[in-house]
């Protein structure tokens, strides 16, 4: 087998890990609260800034800074729910979409105002992994591993814990759960915190590979949303699989044709699939 093609496939799998991690939180929120956080990638951006400032400016160790960022973005998730989502929970989906879309621009502009447009990075340089002629990105491998662990942990949480089961129950029927005495508000808040924490986790891994700037969300937001839709919005396993399908199209398509064409292929695949299975790959 062509060694370079093999490298492209591995790169695709690793990119899939990054995208899967991003899709996880967005899917959880949609699955339970039935609202799309269009500004999800911007929450990731906030997390990246937190790590940058805590680590590079205040000199916190990177692990501590990462942990703080996960908590911080979880807090942002809760705030987002309390201030923006909960007042409009009953409104039409388009209004909710517009509101979180507004948050996207708000967060971008706020970051520009606070931090300027400079590209910043934490200057951590990870070692290289060399297997024969193939090089593997350490940061990507880390992201891939974390995505797997995150997905499994989330699965266990949703299937084995009382709270997780309550979340899934609400996702299935939000009206009846209220009638049965479940405090939806509390479940929503916890879901928002978990969704935020997942965005924070993604931030910890992205900050190792990318510079932080107010518009980093532009690189990830659209494709993350697309992956969630492709997998069936709210379907976590679907999103996970979709992330790897998309990343393989991008990586292998990029290898055989060009990066530009690979994105065209990915979008064509997306559109065709939306015609065939509008409910997504693995719809509920």
């Amino acid at each position: 087998m062509d060694i370079y093609l093999f490298e492209a496939i591995i790169n695709g799998i690793l990119l899939g890990g990054v995208l899967a991690l991003l899709a996880l939180g967005l899917n959880l929120i949609f699955g339970v609260i039935d609202v799309v956080w269009i500004c999800y990638a911007e929450l990731v951006m906030c997390g990246m800034y937190m790590i940058f400032w805590l680590h590079s400016f205040f000199g916190w160790p990177i692990l501590l800074a990462s942990f703080a960022a996960i908590l911080g973005v979880a807090g942002l998730g809760v705030l987002l729910h309390l201030l923006v989502i909960s007042p409009i929970l009953g409104s039409a989906p388009i209004n909710q979409l517009l509101a979180t879309g507004g948050m996207l621009f708000f967060l971008q502009s706020l970051a520009t105002l606070l931090f300027g447009t400079d590209f910043r990075n934490i200057g951590v340089r990870l070692p290289l992994i060399e297997l024969g002629d193939i090089f593997i990105s350490y940061s990507r491998l880390l992201a891939f591993g974390t995505a797997l662990i995150g997905a499994v942990a989330l699965y266990l949480f949703l299937s084995r814990t009382y709270l997780g089961i309550a979340m899934r129950a609400i996702a299935q029927d939000r009206e009846i759960m209220g009638l049965m005495g479940v405090d939806q508000r509390r479940v929503y808040l916890i879901t928002s915190a978990v969704g935020g924490a997942l965005a924070g986790l993604a931030a910890c891994l992205l900050v190792l590979q990318y510079d932080v700037h107010p518009f980093i969300g532009l690189s990830f937001g659209p494709i993350t949303f697309m992956i969630c839709v492709l997998g069936g919005l709210g379907n976590m396993i679907g999103g996970f699989i979709a992330a790897f399908v998309m990343s393989q199209i991008i990586a292998v398509g990029g290898y055989y044709f060009s990066i530009e064409i690979s994105y065209v292929l990915a979008f064509v695949f997306f559109i065709v699939l939306m015609f065939i299975r509008p409910q997504g790959l693995l719809a509920r």
């Binding site: 370079y4 940061s139 990318y210 510079d211 690979s262």
Partner: protein, 443 residues
């Protein structure tokens, strides 16, 4: 000046008014331009979005310094103050067009100075041309902004993208045998570029000049500057094994590419950047430290790296002021070429064009400025960036473009920028190929 500023500080607006009144008195009958009506100039740059930090803000600061300095010296011709109106095109061509319209129709400016991105410059040029106002481009380089478009109201003293190819290939042809040990015809290059007009323009020129020189192109590929992943491009480069990579990129894409290239073990003998993100040495150094040592970059020269003795008298002092003020404003260590671009083009407009427009053509309306611009004839060495200014007249293929502009090839030497080509004005001879200590060097 100190007395003036103290006066202003102590009397506030009243002091301003008093001052304006005092200055206005002796020239109140000065024809079309009264002293109380300053020359309004729109400054249109990407102050937010991904281009802001890739040189757009630096250009804007350069342009503003030129305006401030002109005003401190009394204004254009020592008496006509210049008032700038800022606009932010947000790194989006549609916003650039809307803001351009706003500057013309609501702010009533006669001249728009600025434009960082070629993607914005191309449509904006047509818009401004339609309205018969002046677009004075300081930074965007794509040749396609002017080529075969017969523009009459758009001017650019800055270099154009074809010249990047000319410089890069010229540099390689000159050094292939002596430094890389191969004839130009055996030299293998790869051309990678962002897919907007800037990258596409530079890449087309690279390809054209490489073919003329008989250099082999083993890969030519575009990508979006926002792409979240460039690893398949890196893999293809590993397969194609170019000696030299020519890269035209902005900023997030350059850091992503270099990071993924290092992680994937991509090796080459030299990398030549083409301005934009590669000219932001402070930012690249913050990310890559000494890893990028000895990389090359083509751009109009940052004025402070030229030998002031070879320039027209007075320009050396001007460069010093520009550098001091930029550093004071931003706290930066390296002053990117974009500052010189913004300052230089604006300075040419204020000092060389507007005086002719006022004295010879009777005002600062678009028609007068257009005629004055075509009269400008500055010899080589007459601007802070070394090149002269003479605009291609209407009826020529590049009408409105400066025919005397030139870029240089620079090399990063231990966190400093050194000019290495053209050989006649080099600061140091180039280091080629990358020395063994570089993580990107071919072993």
């Amino acid at each position: 000046m100190a007395i003036l500023s103290r006066l202003i500080r102590s009397f506030g607006l009243f002091g301003f008014a008093l001052l304006g009144f005092a200055l206005a008195l002796p020239v109140i009958d000065d024809g079309a331009l009264a002293q109380d009506k300053p020359i309004r100039i729109g400054l249109l740059y990407d102050l937010s979005g991904p281009f802001a930090a890739a040189g757009s803000v630096a250009s804007q600061i350069g342009a503003q310094i030129a305006i401030d300095l002109t005003n401190e010296r009394g204004g254009v011709l020592g008496k006509y103050k210049v008032e700038s109106v800022n606009a932010d095109s947000q790194s989006k061509p549609d916003v650039a067009i809307n803001e351009g319209e706003r500057l013309i129709n609501q702010e009533h400016v006669d001249v728009i100075v600025g434009v960082y991105s070629s993607a914005a410059a191309v449509p904006l040029a047509s818009k401004v041309e339609e309205q018969k106002k002046i677009l004075w481009i300081t930074t965007a380089v794509a040749t396609s902004v002017f080529k075969d478009r017969s523009l009459k109201y758009v001017f650019r003293a800055q270099i154009h993208s074809d010249q990047y190819g000319q410089a890069g290939i010229g540099f390689l042809t000159e050094h292939a045998k002596s430094d890389l040990g191969v004839e130009p015809k055996d030299l293998k290059i790869a051309i990678i570029y962002e897919d907007g007009p800037y990258g596409t323009g530079v890449a087309a020129a690279d390809e054209q000049y490489a073919k003329q020189a008989g250099i082999q192109i083993v890969l030519k590929e575009a990508y979006s500057a926002n792409a979240p992943d460039l690893s398949s491009l890196v893999t293809k480069l590993k397969r194609a094994r170019p000696d030299v990579i020519l890269h035209a990129g902005y900023n997030p894409d350059i850091t992503l590419f270099l990071r993924q290239a290092r992680e994937a073990g991509l090796r080459f003998k030299m990398l030549i950047g083409n301005g934009a993100g590669y000219s932001q040495l402070d930012k690249l150094t913050a990310t890559f430290g000494t890893d990028i040592d000895n990389f090359c970059d083509i751009d109009p020269v940052p004025a402070q790296h030229l030998d002031a003795a070879k320039l027209a008298p007075g320009l050396g002092d001007l460069i010093k002021i520009m550098v001091e003020r930029y550093k004071a404003k931003t706290g930066a260590n390296d002053v990117p070429p974009h500052v010189s671009m913004g300052f230089n083009q604006t300075w040419i407009l204020l000092q060389n064009v507007l005086p002719i427009a006022i004295e010879k053509y009777g005002g600062t309306d678009a028609e007068a400025i257009r005629k004055a611009a075509l009269d400008v004839d500055i010899p080589v060495g007459g601007t802070i960036q070394g090149y002269g200014v003479k605009f291609f007249p209407p009826g020529t293929q590049l009408s409105g473009q400066n025919e005397r502009s030139t870029p240089v090839v620079m090399q990063y030497v231990k966190g400093q920028i050194k000019v290495v080509w053209p050989t006649a004005i080099q600061n140091v001879p180039p280091v080629l190929p990358l020395p063994a200590q570089s993580p990107y060097a071919v072993n």
